[in-house]
């Protein structure tokens, strides 16, 4: 059975209202641009989105906030998005803010068949509230659990039709763990290759984790902070 579909609209067509989605990316770097645009077009609502950030006002997940498709965000940092902060402070949007390393490890655990783990991050803070704690070797830890996510939407640089993925630069970020963590994983890639065209030694995500793959188009790759060295 082929994993390949023609475009993002076909890839996301089975996503339903109320589902939980993981979306790769750090800031606007390595986000699944095509899939996000297709979700806006599809118009599904009441989504729970797990993503390190929430995009900016008019790009990335920010597009889905404008259309009020997101019921709850699970993120570590949302400071770049004024609409997000407005919806949050007015109570229209629920948010669960999680330490970045805990977020990354919870996603990794989800894809690795690990139900929960202990981490020191957030001990003694409001992050700890309602959670089990335990001391190991004289240090305090919080029990954190895996997620339950219906879909993972990730973006890779290159992929092949078997679903093997390779990332470029820091666009890797949360994408590999999310690719492992979706009950269904949709990968969009800049270059879609035939099996054998990627070197097996340099695959970042093995194809077993990817259900659907398509070649994305018109990547904007917007830069949030364009910092340069002048000659």
């Amino acid at each position: 059975m082929s994993k390949v579909v023609d475009n993002a609209n076909q890839a996301v067509a089975q996503i339903k209202d109320g589902m939980t989605l993981m979306l790769g990316g750090f800031g606007l770097c390595g986000i699944p641009e095509n899939s996000i645009q297709a979700l806006v077009k599809l118009g599904v609502k009441n989504l729970t989105c797990i993503s390190n950030n929430a995009g900016v006002d008019d790009f990335g997940i920010g597009l889905m906030l404008q259309t009020k498709q997101v019921k709850k965000m699970i993120s570590s940092y949302v400071g770049e998005n004024a609409e997000f902060e407005r919806q949050l402070l007015s109570g229209e949007l629920e948010v669960d803010l999680i330490p970045q390393g805990t977020l990354a490890e919870r996603i990794r655990a989800t894809g690795a068949g690990i139900p929960a783990f202990y981490t020191p991050a957030g001990f003694g803070t409001e992050v700890q509230q309602g959670k089990e704690t335990r001391m190991f070797n004289g240090k305090n830890y919080i029990l954190e659990s895996a997620f339950n996510s219906d879909y993972a939407l990730v973006k890779a640089w290159k992929g092949d039709t078997d679903g093997n993925l390779v990332f470029k630069g820091t666009a890797r970020n949360f994408n590999p763990m999310m690719a492992m963590a979706g009950k269904i994983t949709i990968a969009e890639v800049e270059e879609l290759l035939e099996p054998g065209e990627l070197n097996p030694n340099f695959i970042h995500v093995p194809g077993i984790f990817v259900n659907t793959i398509f070649k994305g188009t018109n990547y904007e790759k917007r830069i949030e902070q364009r910092t340069v060295t002048t000659k």
Binding site: F26, G27, L28, C29, G30, N52, S75, S76, Y77, V78, G79, E80, E85, L88, L89, V95, L97, P99, Q100, G101, T102, A104, E105, I107, R108, T119, P120, A121, G122, F123, G124, T125, E126, V127, W157, K168, G169, T170, A171, R172, N173, F174, N175, P176, M177, H204, K221, R222, I223, E224, Q225, R226, T227, V228, T229, T230, K231
Partner: protein, 218 residues
């Protein structure tokens, strides 16, 4: 004269040692990379997944797929490595980072830190700060001594939601260099021309200034 943000960065840069792996937070800490002492080689870690972070790129080298934790475009160096965010925090939690420098809104005299939330006003999130302060042994806080309303940020107890508890041991502000121990801020160095009375007035927490406190060398 109180230090400006560049001088705070310069003073902290003197704490860098050859071979250190260093994580620099957003704001004043980022500036430290400009003042690495001669002959000292450090490797900068960016928690989105880059070890061996290089300077900002030349205009024609700008790559949207290569950014730091502050979402700024950066470069790699010979010897750099790139990895996912779970591996990045594995490095942090397992204590591989030799020095962590971050900013703060409040520091308490027991070493508590608050830097991620002002209830009802600002909700940006903690990013990687909670993971860093819970795991790192060697943390320096770089911040202004008082907030924009003139209120002390070195307190008996934090008033804002905490980022971590009893984890900060050193603070460099525009007024001085402090070590936190025995439930007090111990003044190690004064900013040039700043006297102990000025520092005392700007410090709500318990200040200990024993003996002759030297001026900072910038």
């Amino acid at each position: 004269m109180a230090l400006d943000k560049f001088q705070i960065a310069q003073r902290i840069a003197k704490e860098l040692k050859d071979g250190y792996y260093v994580n620099l937070g957003i704001g004043i800490p980022t500036l430290i990379a400009n003042y690495i002492p001669e002959g000292v080689n450090v490797t900068l870690q960016s928690e989105n997944g880059l070890l061996g972070m290089g300077p900002f790129p030349y205009e024609e080298e700008v790559d949207a797929d290569l950014i730091n934790a502050g979402k700024q475009t950066v470069t790699t160096l010979d010897g750099s490595s790139i990895f996912d965010s779970a591996m990045s925090f594995a490095m942090i939690r397992s204590g591989r980072i030799d020095l962590t420098v971050l900013g703060a809104m409040e520091i308490a005299q027991n070493g508590d830190i608050a830097n991620w939330k002002i209830p009802g006003k600002m909700v940006k999130g903690m990013g990687g700060a909670m993971d860093l302060v819970a795991s790192a042994e060697n943390i320096i806080v770089a911040m202004r001594h008082t907030n924009k309303h003139g209120k002390s940020k070195l307190l008996k107890e934090c008033t804002l939601p905490l980022t971590g508890t009893a984890c900060i041991k050193r603070v460099v502000t525009d007024l001085g260099y402090f070590e936190i121990k025995e439930n007090a801020f111990h003044l190690l160095e004064r900013a040039p021309g700043v006297n102990i009375e000025d520092i005392q007035k700007a410090t709500e927490g318990t200040l200990v200034a024993e003996g002759d406190i030297p001026e900072m060398q910038i």
